[in-house]
C-alpha cells in the first residue's frame, strides 16, 4: 500500500489537473467573446446570482474574464515551460560531449542563476517589445538553468554507467550513446521539470503583465485583471482582485502538487 500511495496520489492529481485543463479549454469554446462584452448598466456590480463573480469597471463579467485569463496563462505557461525544458535538455546534452562544452554550459548556468530573474525577465520582455511572444521567450530564457543543472548532473553520472562505457567500447558514437542510452533516461526528469516550471512560468507571466512589461492590456490575462483591480481596491471592489487571484493560485497549486506527486511516483 505504501508503495502504491505515491502513484495513487499522482493519478488523483493528474485527474484533477486534467479536469481543470479540459474545463479551461471547453470554457474558451463555450464562452465565445463573453469576456469582452460590456454591460454599462452593471458596472462594478458585486458578486450576485446575476453576476456570479461580479463585474469590472466596464461591466464585463469577471467569471468570463477570469476563465479567459486562466486559459491565456495556461497556454503561455505551457509554451514557456516546454521551451525552457528544451533549452535545458539541449544544453545538458551538449555538456556531455566534451569537457570544454561542459565548462561553457556550467558557466552560462552559473551566470544566469546569479542574476535575479525577475529583472532579467523584465529586460528581455521589454527588449522584445512586450506581448505574448515576448513573455513566452523571456520566461523560457530565464527559467531553464535550474533544470539544466539537474539534467547535466544526471547525464554526467549516467555517462559513467557500465552499459554506457560498454556501448562506447563496442564502437558506438557519442551521438548514438547520447540519444539511445542517455536521453531516454531523462524523460521522467524532463516531465517533472517542465511541470515544476509551469507554475513559475504562469506566476512570472502574471507578474510581468501586472508590472506592464507583459501582455497587452486589451487581453484578459490574469496579470491585466490584477493590475486593473489595484486601481479599485481602495474603493472596496474586492472581487476584482480576489477571484482572479484565487483562480491563479488554484491553477498554480494544482500543477505544483501534480509535479510533486509525479516526482515521488516516477
Amino acid at each position: 500500500m505504501s508503495e502504491a500511495q505515491p502513484r495513487l496520489r499522482a493519478a488523483l492529481s493528474l485527474g484533477v489537473t486534467t479536469l481543470l485543463v479540459l474545463g479551461l479549454v471547453a470554457s474558451q469554446w463555450l464562452l465565445g467573446d463573453s469576456a469582452q462584452q460590456m454591460q454599462f448598466d452593471a458596472r462594478l456590480a458585486p458578486p450576485s446570482l446575476n453576476h456570479w463573480l461580479g463585474t469590472d469597471a466596464l461591466g464585463r463579467e469577471l467569471w468570463a474574464r477570469t476563465l479567459a485569463g486562466l486559459a491565456l496563462s495556461f497556454w503561455v505557461g505551457c509554451l514557456a515551460a516546454l521551451l525552457s525544458t528544451l533549452i535545458a535538455l539541449s544544453l545538458a546534452a551538449l555538456a556531455t560531449l566534451s569537457p570544454r562544452l561542459d565548462a561553457l554550459v556550467s558557466l552560462v548556468i552559473d551566470t544566469l542563476l546569479s542574476v535575479p530573474h525577475l529583472i532579467l525577465l523584465m529586460l528581455i520582455a521589454f527588449a522584445l517589445g512586450g506581448g505574448t511572444q515576448a513573455v513566452i521567450i523571456a520566461v523560457a530564457i530565464t527559467h531553464w538553468p535550474r533544470l539544466a543543472r539537474v539534467l547535466r548532473a544526471e547525464l554526467l553520472q549516467l555517462r559513467q554507467a557500465p552499459y554506457v562505457l560498454i556501448s562506447q567500447a563496442l564502437g558506438k558514437s557519442r551521438w548514438f550513446v547520447l540519444h539511445a542510452h542517455l536521453l531516454p533516461h531523462l524523460i521522467p526528469h524532463c516531465l517533472v521539470g517542465a511541470l515544476l516550471l509551469f507554475p513559475h512560468a504562469i506566476l512570472h507571466e502574471a507578474a510581468l503583465t501586472f508590472l506592464g512589461f507583459g501582455l497587452s492590456p486589451s487581453q484578459p490575462a490574469i496579470g491585466v485583471l490584477l493590475a486593473e483591480a489595484m486601481r479599485y481596491l481602495s474603493g472596496g471592489y474586492w472581487w476584482l482582485g480576489v477571484f482572479p487571484g484565487l483562480a491563479l493560485l488554484m491553477m498554480v497549486l494544482s500543477f505544483e502538487r501534480l509535479s510533486n506527486h509525479l516526482r515521488r511516483a516516477l
Partner: protein
C-alpha cells in the same frame, strides 16, 4: 599481442593499488588472475580494456596504443551483467548492439529465442551474463577481460558458458584474461596464472 608495461594506478594520492605491473596476453592465450578483494584485479582489467587511464606505464596492442574510438579490440566483461545492459532495452536489441550473432552462436551460449523479446529484469543474472558475453564477441574483438563473469552461475551453467567461450576463443584465436577468486576454475582454464597482492603480480602454478 596485448602488453601492459609498468602500470601504476592509485585512486587517491599515496594509496597505490597497482605498482609497476607488467602483463602480456597473446592471441589465443588464456591467462588467469586471482587476488584478494580490493587487490586491484578489476582495476587492472579496466586498465587493459582502456576504461581507466594509468598514472604511469602504458598499454599497447601490437606495439601501438589502444584505439581511442570505434570498436575496441579489448572488451571488458563486468561481474554484474545487470549493470552492463540498458534496462530500457529489450534483450534482442542489447545482444545486437554491436553485431548480429547467428542462431548457432546464440544456441552455443544457451541463449533462448524467447529471451530476446524480454527486458533485462525478466532474465536471471546468469542468463543476462551469457547475453553480455556473446555481445562482446563482435568481429574485430581480439582480447576479452572476463571479470568474475561466472560467479553468480550454478556449476552446470558455468561449465556451459566457459565451454562456449573456449570454443569461440579457439576458433578466433582470442586472448582471454580470466579474473576470478576461484583458483580451481583458473587452474582448469588458464595455463598461465597470476596472483595480485600488494599491487604486484606473482606467477603461480597448481600445487
Amino acid at each position: 599481442m596485448l602488453e601492459a608495461r609498468e602500470l601504476s594506478f592509485q585512486f587517491s594520492p599515496g594509496v597505490s593499488l597497482l605498482q609497476a605491473v607488467s602483463l602480456t596476453l597473446s592471441a589465443g592465450q588464456w591467462v588467469g588472475l586471482s587476488g584478494d578483494s580490493g587487490a586491484g584485479k578489476s582495476t587492472l582489467g579496466k586498465l587493459l580494456a582502456g576504461y581507466v587511464t594509468p598514472q604511469a606505464g602504458h598499454i599497447s596492442l601490437d606495439g601501438e596504443a589502444l584505439p581511442s574510438r570505434g570498436l575496441q579490440p579489448v572488451q571488458w566483461l563486468p561481474q554484474s551483467p545487470e549493470l552492463a545492459v540498458n534496462p530500457r532495452w529489450r534483450v534482442g536489441k542489447i545482444l545486437r548492439e554491436a553485431w548480429a550473432p547467428s542462431n548457432a552462436q546464440c544456441q552455443a551460449f544457451g541463449i533462448q529465442p524467447g529471451w530476446l523479446s524480454r527486458f533485462p529484469h525478466a532474465l536471471s543474472g546468469g542468463e543476462l551474463q551469457r547475453v553480455c558475453v556473446l555481445r562482446a564477441l563482435a568481429p574485430g574483438v581480439r582480447f576479452l577481460i572476463a571479470d568474475e563473469i561466472s560467479t553468480m552461475l550454478d556449476p552446470i551453467t558455468q561449465l556451459e558458458l566457459w565451454q562456449a567461450l573456449k570454443q569461440e576463443a579457439e576458433k578466433r584465436q582470442l586472448g582471454v584474461l580470466v579474473i576470478s577468486h576461484d583458483t580451481a576454475l583458473l587452474e582448469r582454464l588458464c595455463p598461465q596464472r597470476y596472483h595480485l597482492h600488494d599491487g604486484q603480480l606473482t606467477s603461480w602454478s597448481a600445487e
